[in-house]
């Protein structure tokens, strides 16, 4: 007979289930990237995953930790990282980012659960700083089996940054372009383009209760409000809110990265604050920063505030003064 400790029943949800479910919800977006950019995208994803798992295994072996390479968390980090990279990212750049994400973003702190920053974003930001050229060379669409050759060009966010830096009006956007941005038929990082598929994945995570609405809604909402104010004041020099919402990595960041349970605050209220912070910083960087895209930096910065948010925003303790006996 087994003794064991109570409770003697547990939910079925465990770490592996959570990780593989999130991976599954990312797959449609990743497949869209593979469809749009073909073999270049497959290469980036494959290299990222292989290096991440290898790094994790090697490090766990090295410090004689229990091996948990197959719990899905390394694959998730690798997939997330890959989705933020340009489709034509050279294999060694991808490999470096993935190695860095796992080694420095996660294992150095003790592995899953102990990392203060989202590992995929740590990897990405290191690449942005270390390999700016490779990180901003964007392939035009060349769908799988289409026979279209690989050419390069600029992303919508890049266009806006160029206009901003040269004090020109932002380029006009037509409705069908917004539609293309929404469905993914546009240039950019390999897994960030199809907002539609990312949202569908997010809805499933909401339904499974692995994320809550608080962070995505407050992050995107803040982006809309903040960019909206500037757009209303000066539409010639500021892109409209819809553009900000649909472009770059906002959707991927808001749904899949800012909501990373390890690095976001614990309570719903804390998450609202966190999401709003992410949204605000994203827009500040996009409008006035040196990078066209601010989502990664914004989330990492807010990650560093998570412990503080958690300290100040705690749940109501039963029987504590407030609300006791006076409802």
């Amino acid at each position: 007979m087994v003794l064991g400790i109570w409770p003697h029943i547990r939910t079925e949800t465990n770490i592996n289930k959570i990780m593989y479910t999130v991976i599954a919800t990312l797959i449609p977006g990743a497949l869209a990237g593979v469809y749009l950019f073909g073999w270049s995208a497959i290469q980036v994803i494959a290299v990222s995953i292989v290096v991440a798992m290898g790094t994790e295994a090697a490090m766990q072996k090295l410090i004689k930790q229990k091996m948990t390479v197959f719990d899905g968390s390394a694959i998730l980090t690798a997939l997330l990282l890959a989705m933020t990279l340009p489709p034509g990212c050279p294999w060694w750049v991808t490999a470096f980012g993935s190695f860095f994400a796992i080694a420095i973003g996660k294992q150095i702190y003790g592995g899953l659960g102990y990392n203060p920053f989202n590992p995929a974003l740590v990897g990405r930001v290191v690449l942005l700083i270390g390999f700016p050229l490779q990180m901003t060379t964007w392939e035009n669409l060349h769908p799988l089996f289409s026979g279209v050759d690989v050419t390069t060009g600029a992303t919508p966010l890049g266009d806006v940054q160029v206009a901003r830096l040269s004090h020109k009006p932002v380029p006009d956007m037509e409705t069908h372009q917004f539609w293309n941005m929404f469905t993914g038929n546009t240039m950019g990082s390999l897994g960030e383009t199809s907002d539609l598929l990312l949202i569908l994945g997010g809805l499933y995570l909401l339904y499974k209760h692995f994320i809550t609405w608080h962070i995505p809604v407050s992050m995107i909402g803040t982006v809309v409000i903040f960019s909206g104010i500037f757009w209303l004041i000066d539409p010639a020099h500021y892109a409209n809110p819809l553009f900000h919402v649909l472009s770059g990595g906002l959707m991927l960041g808001a749904i899949f990265m800012a909501t990373d349970m390890v690095t976001c605050p614990n309570t719903p209220k804390g998450q609202l604050v966190f999401g709003a912070g992410c949204g605000l910083l994203t827009i500040i960087i996009r409008m006035w920063g040196g990078y066209p895209e601010g989502v990664s930096f914004a989330i990492l910065l807010m990650n560093s505030l998570t412990p503080m948010i958690d300290r100040y925003i705690q749940p109501h303790l039963y029987g504590a003064k407030k609300g006791a006996g006076n409802k």
Binding site: H8, T11, A324
Partner: protein, 449 residues
């Protein structure tokens, strides 16, 4: 019928009540022997009044209280005392117990004073009867009932809540009691409200016990004006709805002040089983020597609700229920959320036992615990508003000083946090560890000053 409010947090586990909720309560035939622990309540253990070799009758006092927070203990069958010594207790430790071997006559000691009309006895006498009958809270906490019925004069007690929730999965003993003996519960309620001079009462029942809700409602209606204002309240099925504090929150929307008691709000909460036991004691003058328990789970051949004598060994009860179905994995005393697992079948039923739950081998899985991934699931389900993850993390590194900042004493040990944790962290145990550490440091301080 009233609808209850909600309390925050809580979980919806697999309830498994269908094994036994429709099963009429049977009475276990006379066992060959019983092992009666001399401590079956919170508080100081009783002093044995018998020696080995003595002959006792059913209902005879065998353990005398030594403190205020204690309840006397009686023989549950007639026969010979064959052993007095430490024996396994469902709580996991060894406790001084008396073994009685049956003389097969099953005789009462007699001399009980019956009261066909419980309303014509004076209150002090009733209180004495309840005290002498050894009644404790039958919901699991086993707090001596007479203590709750003597609130300090400074507390203006005005409302009684009867707890008919039985929120632990699998257990159906209270459910069957309400369905089969609603009048005993109502008579108990009458006695309780009379003792406490209370003008208002609620009976809280979860909405997964529709028949009990209906039957209790009818019983209340039938009594009409002979009862104080009484409402049957239909509550959401959610664990731990039956926790005293959660019940109060769900019925009245009130929170018991931190570190306080329901009495501070003018409330007294009693389990429905306790109410029925009070009635039986007052009406027939007999002490508490048996109770209804549920024997259930997929590891049991014939799940049942059974009336058993206090002290009956789990082994004997299981064999009456057809024994194990397949290879047993775990035998749990009580429900799966808070009941302790047993290492031996020679452990007796005590006053606070609500059931025996057996999981077959294939239902028992042991997963290793991992680092907290900060998923916050535990925070979401904690009905008290704690940060179980922080308590768990700080306890893990034995940083008790830090752990104390997260209000460990407010934890009701419901286990919701451990239930949901995807990292399989033993959170409740870690919190108990912190509490024990706090208790021991407190003692040290007291000794010094």
């Amino acid at each position: 019928m009233m609808k209850g409010n909600k309390f925050p947090g809580g979980i919806h586990p697999f309830y498994g009540k269908e094994f036994t909720e429709g099963g009429k309560t049977e009475t276990l035939p006379l066992p060959d022997k019983v092992v009666i622990p001399l401590s079956q309540h919170i508080g100081a253990p009783c002093k044995p009044l018998m020696t080995i070799g003595a002959m006792v009758k059913k209902g005879e006092l065998i353990g005398e209280t030594t403190g205020v927070i204690a309840a006397p203990i009686h023989a549950s069958l007639s026969g010979k005392i064959t052993n007095i010594g430490p024996s396994p207790h469902p709580g996991g430790n060894q406790i001084l117990s008396m073994t009685i071997e049956s003389d097969k006559k099953d005789e009462w000691i007699g001399g009980f004073e019956e009261h066909p009309d419980t309303l014509d006895i004076d209150i002090e006498t009733i209180k004495k009867i309840i005290h002498k009958a050894g009644i404790v809270g039958l919901g699991g906490a086993a707090f001596p009932t007479h203590v709750k019925l003597n609130p300090p004069k400074t507390k203006n007690v005005h409302t009684l809540i009867l707890n008919g929730v039985e929120c632990e999965p699998y257990l159906t003993a209270d459910h069957r009691l309400m369905v089969e003996q609603p009048n005993d519960v109502i008579e108990g309620l009458k006695i309780l409200t009379r003792i406490l001079g209370i003008k208002k009462a609620y009976i809280g029942i979860e909405d997964n016990k529709k028949d009990a809700l209906r039957i209790m409602e009818q019983a209340v209606k039938k009594e009409g004006s002979r009862l104080v204002e009484t409402h049957v309240v239909e509550l959401e099925t959610k664990y731990p709805q039956g926790g005293e504090k959660q019940l109060i929150q769900a019925i009245l929307g009130l929170e018991v002040p931190n570190g306080g008691l329901p009495m501070d709000l003018g409330l007294v909460v009693q389990n429905v089983g306790t109410a029925a036991a009070i009635y039986e004691a007052v009406r027939y003058g007999r002490p508490l020597i048996d109770r209804i328990i549920t024997i259930t789970g997929r590891g049991i051949a014939q799940p049942k609700n059974l009336r058993v004598r206090i002290g009956t060994l789990v082994r004997d009860i299981l064999s009456y229920c057809g024994g194990f179905a397949g290879e047993p994995g775990k035998v749990i005393m009580g429900g799966p959320m808070m009941g302790p697992a047993q290492y031996t079948l020679d452990v007796p039923i005590v006053k606070g036992t609500g059931g025996i739950l057996v999981f077959p081998k294939e239902e028992v899985s042991v997963e290793e615990s991992r680092a907290c991934i900060r998923c916050a699931a535990c925070i979401e389900v904690c009905p008290v508003g704690l940060l179980p993850n922080m308590l768990s993390i700080t306890a893990e590194v034995l940083n008790f000083a830090e752990a104390k900042k997260f209000h460990p004493l407010a934890c009701i040990e419901c286990g919701c946090c451990s239930y949901v944790c995807p990292s399989r962290r033993p959170i409740v145990h870690q919190i108990r560890h912190i509490k024990m550490d706090m208790a021991s440091t407190k003692k040290k301080v007291v000794m010094v000053t």
